[in-house]
């Protein structure tokens, strides 16, 4: 009996070594951790329980039957983050370069099925070379099984992908269908076809980093929702993110005791809006002064910076924040900003996270580049996303809310529950100059008259009071009381119930 138990220990130890000490050392030399080290960092100490540690591939092509490693290039299992259960798989670059075989795929789909049954988030850590070529169509089919499960799980359990090494070819599409992708700077890259193929097909010479590094995907392509300096920083930030996320689409947001007073007033917000309407200010100051303890987890921080999206807490409960950023492009809505915010809003709605929207938007960005790029449909995505929300929506207009952008940014008429405006709000079809030039075109040559008309327009329209007089906003509030008012609104809306008609699914303008 003793021998049998010892044999188990031996097999476990062997499996845990993955591709062996040499490959582990080479992984470390590259500044990367091994799959098991990563899992251990991500989860609470000692909480990881591994599945399928002894799984080996069954391929006999090209002499593969002679090279088998237990685990087959992916470590799967579950554990906890601050006591909440999480499913996790990590590609093991030390074993066949983490490449995906039939059995490797089966390990992942088994985990996906388990996560769905248990209704808990699933996190994939990527560091792999794509399909195992020796397995041919078996590997490709393996991907498909994974993809379909990604889609079925979408909107039911949070799915997060963390790219911590190569991620190319078939490997990119599973992350692409999850809720969030995060990358490690300098050591990770992601692309459909690599630099060699690019060179062959298009003669374009490009490095892996230039083609699909973290800096590209977090700023240009919007594939990544964030990029961090190294493995440790990334995984610890993932723990922080998980603390914000619901386990599934029915449990509701996690809650912890807040150290912050929901009645806290911030007098300095009364001077946040500069006297000069053309002067920018940092909307993140408002977010940081509103959320509990100034703690805000920003999503897609470096992409489409003219809109800010991210998670904060009010009274210890997760809230999604969407805010125009006057510091960048005057906070204008363009295709990128609309797509970024739309995706964030839909995530929040899917997982019952209330949304607070801060509005200071001069309109949509004009120009051929935007129109040719499909601004109408991209803008419609955000409009669509807000309009289909059933979660509590609280909207605060701090300054400009001009034109169609007023409607898009969670106006009351598209379904927001509570809409407040600061006294500095200007709710109008457009700014004074443009408006006067159209309404009083006949006076254009008379500078004095135009000045008088402009003043008239500003006094009448560039205020929140016309909207307040007609009930388009619920109240005009003091900037310093913003946190208090949001907290009250969210508390009142906590049990909000809206029924949408049954349908197969909607038809979001893609």
């Amino acid at each position: 009996m003793k021998n049998i138990l010892e044999a188990l220990d031996e097999r476990r130890a062997n499996a845990k070594l993955g591709g062996g000490k040499k490959r582990i050392a080479s992984q470390h030399e590259r500044g990367k951790l091994t799959a098991r080290e990563r899992i251990e960092l991500l989860l609470d100490k000692g909480s990881f329980e591994e599945f399928d540690m002894f799984v080996e591939h069954r391929s006999t092509e090209f002499g593969m039957e002679k090279s088998k490693v237990p685990g087959d290039g992916v470590v799967t299992g579950w554990g906890t983050v601050n006591g909440r259960k999480i499913f996790v798989f990590a590609k093991d670059f030390t074993v066949f370069g983490g490449s995906l075989s039939e059995t490797h795929a089966q390990k992942i789909t088994k985990l996906q099925d388990m996560a769905m049954k248990a209704r808990a988030p699933i996190i994939g850590l990527y560091d792999a070379g794509g399909a195992r070529i020796q397995e041919g169509v078996a590997a490709l089919a393996g991907y498909s099984y994974v993809f379909r499960r990604n889609v079925i799980a979408s909107g039911v359990i949070p799915q997060i992908s963390v790219i911590m090494g190569p991620c190319a070819g078939g490997d990119v599409y599973s992350p692409a269908m999850t809720d969030f992708i995060f990358m490690v700077k300098n050591t990770s890259y992601m692309f459909v076809t690599g630099p060699d193929v690019v060179k062959t097909v298009t003669n374009e010479v490009v490095t892996a980093e230039e083609l699909g590094g973290a800096s590209v995907h977090a700023t240009k392509s919007s594939i990544a929702d964030g990029a961090y300096d190294n493995d440790v920083e990334t995984l610890l930030q993932m723990r922080r993110l998980i603390d914000y996320l619901p386990s599934n689409n029915t449990d509701g947001v996690p809650e912890w005791p807040s150290f912050d007073d929901i009645e806290r007033v911030e007098m300095s917000l009364d001077t946040l809006i500069p006297e000069n309407p053309n002067k920018p200010y940092d909307i993140k100051e408002l977010i940081l002064k509103v959320v509990d303890e100034g703690d805000f987890f920003e999503i897609a921080e470096t992409f489409a910076k003219n809109i800010v999206t991210g998670f904060g807490r009010i009274a210890g409960r997760t809230v999604g924040f969407v805010a125009n950023q006057p510091m960048v492009l005057a906070g204008v809505l363009d295709s990128d900003a609309s797509r970024k915010a739309a995706r964030f809003v839909r995530f929040c709605d899917a997982f019952n996270i209330p949304i607070v929207t801060f509005v200071d938007v001069p309109g949509f960005l004009p120009g051929t580049a935007q129109e040719y790029g499909g601004l109408i449909k991209h803008g419609a995505k955000l409009l669509f996303a807000y309009s289909q929300c059933t979660v509590p929506l609280v909207t605060i207009i701090t300054r400009k809310a001009y034109g169609g952008a007023f409607d898009v940014m969670a106006a009351k008429e598209i379904g927001a529950d509570i809409n407040y405006a600061w006294p500095t709000a200007q709710i109008a079809v457009m700014g004074a100059k443009g408006a006067v030039e159209i309404i009083f075109r006949q006076d254009m040559k008379d500078a004095e008259k135009i000045a008088a008309r402009t003043k008239e327009y500003e006094d009448r329209f560039l205020s929140p009071f016309i909207a307040a007089e007609r009930g388009y906003i619920d109240d005009v509030i003091m900037p310093h009381s913003t946190r208090k008012r949001i907290a009250r609104a969210l508390a009142m809306l906590r049990d909000k119930k809206v029924e949408m008609p049954a349908k197969k699914h909607d038809n979001l303008p893609l």
Partner: protein, 671 residues
């Protein structure tokens, strides 16, 4: 007594005057420019009058506007504060013509002390010690040597028309005088077209010591002891104290008597300051007299217990001085730090912007320690380009110099400012400086002790341990709450390891942390692996608080906390460091991570402050030598010349003249 006074100033001094006036039952009127609409002094005053656009020349310096404001509000008197109109002879005259009282000296006294040469003559006449020298024209080097021998070495040979060090020579023997005289004269001729030179005594390692005087309209003048203001940066006072660590009672009396004699000689009838330059041997010589309230007056107020603003108001109203010289006693020690909106890490360049967070230390007095903060700003306020970058004066008073410095150091640790760069880290570093603590001062202190500018103090020794302990305590509070999140699995309690590895930057300090009673116990793990004895940290700190206030082993401690990814940036005593509190496993993994590769900023010239590019003085491909001008950037109306730090070749130019750049925007790149 006046019922209503107007304060023709802004910022901290306006606020400070309002406080005293209010205590005296006098109503106050503030004046403000467009840039100061939401300023603290406007909020504090009983009434406020708008006086014009932001530039001082179009608002705070317009005498007519001030008089109009008085008439509109019924103010009877005007306090000018310091700067602006305070030392303009025309101002009291104009006020008097308008039937208003100037809370300051008479116009004659201002005029007499306003001119450098005239004031020196007046001082000499009143028997005040002046720098020995020969003000007349010197014909040749022989005469120069003779004069130098009369004065005593070392001497300074200066061009009459000089400035900026040109035509200036220091000589410590006859030969040097002869040579220096010839050189100085030649230099003076070529630089200023005027070869007149004069010789005066050169004071080695000079100190700046000044005497506060107070007079009334009845011929009474007293002095309130001295202040030492030797900690200066480019002639700008940074740290002041009272009394001076240099003076003894006899010298103090001598200086005070001379200052009073000078004040009497010019019929001085308000608060004023007689400035002296002092040698390390306690010799002292008249420099000039400032006919106004000095910025650093609070240190005198704290050691004498006399409110100078109140005295100025009383004597202006015609009251006789209620204090005789014998009533003036100096108790304890006071230290003042000037908090400036300037970046100590970027050669003290001015910094402007919104005060996103402004949490000065708590004011108040305990049995032995007084903390006073004269501030003119508040959270959410704007530091504009138009005015002086000083935002506050932090003053501490204690029974001894050491106690006042310790209190100052602690108060600075709790001075939390975000949104702009500020010199608090620099001030904190000076407070820890041994030479400052010993009182071995001279006006060259900053230039000598920080010759290559200011770099943040490294976290070492005791300070590092203290910071690590606070980091661990903060992390413990955060960790305790994390384990109370909803939705946890039943039957799987989250446990916590006591052992932690605190990283300050990449330096690791292992320790054990646990909650004990109302505190958090920290035990450092020594190099031999042994766990040391417990240090108990007690604090009410909670996540979101900008400063960790508490005690460590019973000693008060303040550390500023700014969250960063997975850690905090902690600031304490001029040290600013990124702190991470890792478990042992996390630390083990972190050790494998490559050191952060910073973009090679050395190869790029980055814009040091937000500003306008005036010129780019090099072209692509050009070879430049260290010190060569690369570009000129204007910020805060100052033209800043950016020079090459080392030899190199310009590879690319990213900005052009006329462009407005943000801080750290690349201007050009070296190959």
């Amino acid at each position: 007594m006046f019922k209503k006074i107007l304060i023709a100033n802004r910022g901290e001094i306006a606020c400070r005057i309002i406080k005293t006036a209010r205590r005296m039952g006098i109503k106050t009127i503030a004046v403000y420019s467009e840039a100061d609409e939401d300023a603290l002094h406007v909020e504090m005053a009983d009434e406020a009058v708008f006086i014009g656009p932001p530039p001082a020349a179009e608002s705070y310096l317009l005498i007519d506007r001030i008089i109009d404001a008085c008439k509109a509000t019924g103010a009877e008197a005007v306090h000018p504060g310091y700067g602006f109109l305070s030392e303009r002879e025309a101002f009291p005259k104009a006020l008097s013509e308008a039937g208003l009282v100037f809370i300051g000296p008479n116009a004659g006294a201002i005029a007499a002390m306003g001119d450098k040469i005239e004031s020196k003559k007046a001082a000499a006449k009143a028997g005040v010690s002046t720098v020995p020298g020969h003000l007349g024209v010197i014909e040749d080097d022989k005469r120069a040597v003779k004069i130098a021998e009369e004065i005593g070495f070392p001497v300074m040979i200066k061009a009459s028309a000089g400035g900026g060090g040109k035509g200036m020579r220091i000589a410590s023997n006859a030969a040097e005088v002869a040579e220096g005289f010839r050189l100085a004269r030649a230099e003076a001729k070529s630089s200023f077209g005027d070869d007149r030179v004069f010789v005066e005594k050169f004071i080695v390692d000079p100190r700046h010591i000044e005497i506060q005087v107070l007079g009334d309209k009845h011929g009474n003048v007293i002095h309130l002891g001295e202040r030492e203001c030797s900690i200066q940066r480019r002639n700008q006072k940074v740290i002041e104290e009272a009394p001076s660590p240099l003076l003894d009672e006899a010298t103090r009396r001598k200086m005070g008597d001379q200052a009073v004699a000078l004040a009497k000689a010019v019929n001085y009838d308000s608060a004023g300051t007689v400035e002296f330059v002092a040698g390390q041997d306690k010799s002292f010589y008249f420099l000039e007299m400032n006919t106004r309230l000095q910025v650093e007056h609070p240190v005198t107020e704290l050691v004498t217990g006399i409110d100078l603003v109140e005295q100025m108001i009383r004597v202006a109203a015609g009251e006789k001085l209620g204090i005789a010289q014998k009533d003036v006693t100096l108790t304890g020690w006071a230290v003042e730090s000037r908090v400036y909106a300037e970046d100590p890490f970027r050669n003290f360049l001015p910094s402007i912007g919104r005060l996103v967070k402004y949490r000065p230390p708590a004011e108040g007095a305990t049995k032995t320690i007084t903390v006073r903060n004269d501030t003119g700003v508040q959270e959410g306020g704007e530091i504009s380009i138009f005015y002086d970058p000083m935002i506050a004066k932090l003053v501490t008073h204690g029974p001894s110099r050491a106690a006042a410095i310790e209190a100052q150091s602690q108060a600075l640790d709790a001075f939390y400012i975000d949104g702009i760069r500020h010199n608090v880290p620099f001030l904190s570093a000076v407070m820890q400086h041994p030479r400052w603590k010993e009182g071995r001062l001279s006006t060259g202190f900053i230039a000598e002790e920080f010759p290559r500018g200011f770099a943040p103090r490294a976290a070492e020794g005791e300070v590092a341990r203290r910071i690590a302990a606070v980091a661990a305590a903060i992390d413990h509070v955060i960790g305790e709450r994390k384990r109370r999140i909803s939705g946890q699995m039943i039957g799987r309690p989250v446990t916590r390891e006591q052992r932690r590895a605190v990283w300050l930057g990449r330096a690791e300090i292992p320790l054990e942390v646990s909650r004990e009673g109302d505190g958090i116990a920290i035990r450092f793990v020594e190099a031999n692996g042994e766990v040391g004895s417990a240090h108990l940290l007690v604090s009410n700190w909670k996540p979101g608080d900008p400063t960790w206030h508490g005690t460590a082993d019973g000693h008060p401690l303040a550390v500023q906390v700014r969250p960063i990814a997975n850690g905090f940036r902690l600031a304490h005593q001029g040290v600013e460091v990124a702190a991470y509190v890792f478990t042992e496993f996390e630390a083990q993994a972190a050790r494998l991570m490559p050191e952060e590769t910073k973009a090679d900023a050395g190869k790029k010239l980055l814009c040091p402050m937000p500003g306008l590019v005036i010129s780019i003085d090099v072209s692509e491909g050009q070879e430049v030598k260290a010190g060569e001008t690369l570009a000129v950037v204007e910020a805060m109306k100052m033209q800043n010349v950016l020079r090459a730090e080392r030899d190199g070749v310009v590879k690319a130019i990213h900005a052009k003249a006329g462009a407005t750049l943000a801080v750290d925007a690349p201007i050009l790149e070296f190959a």
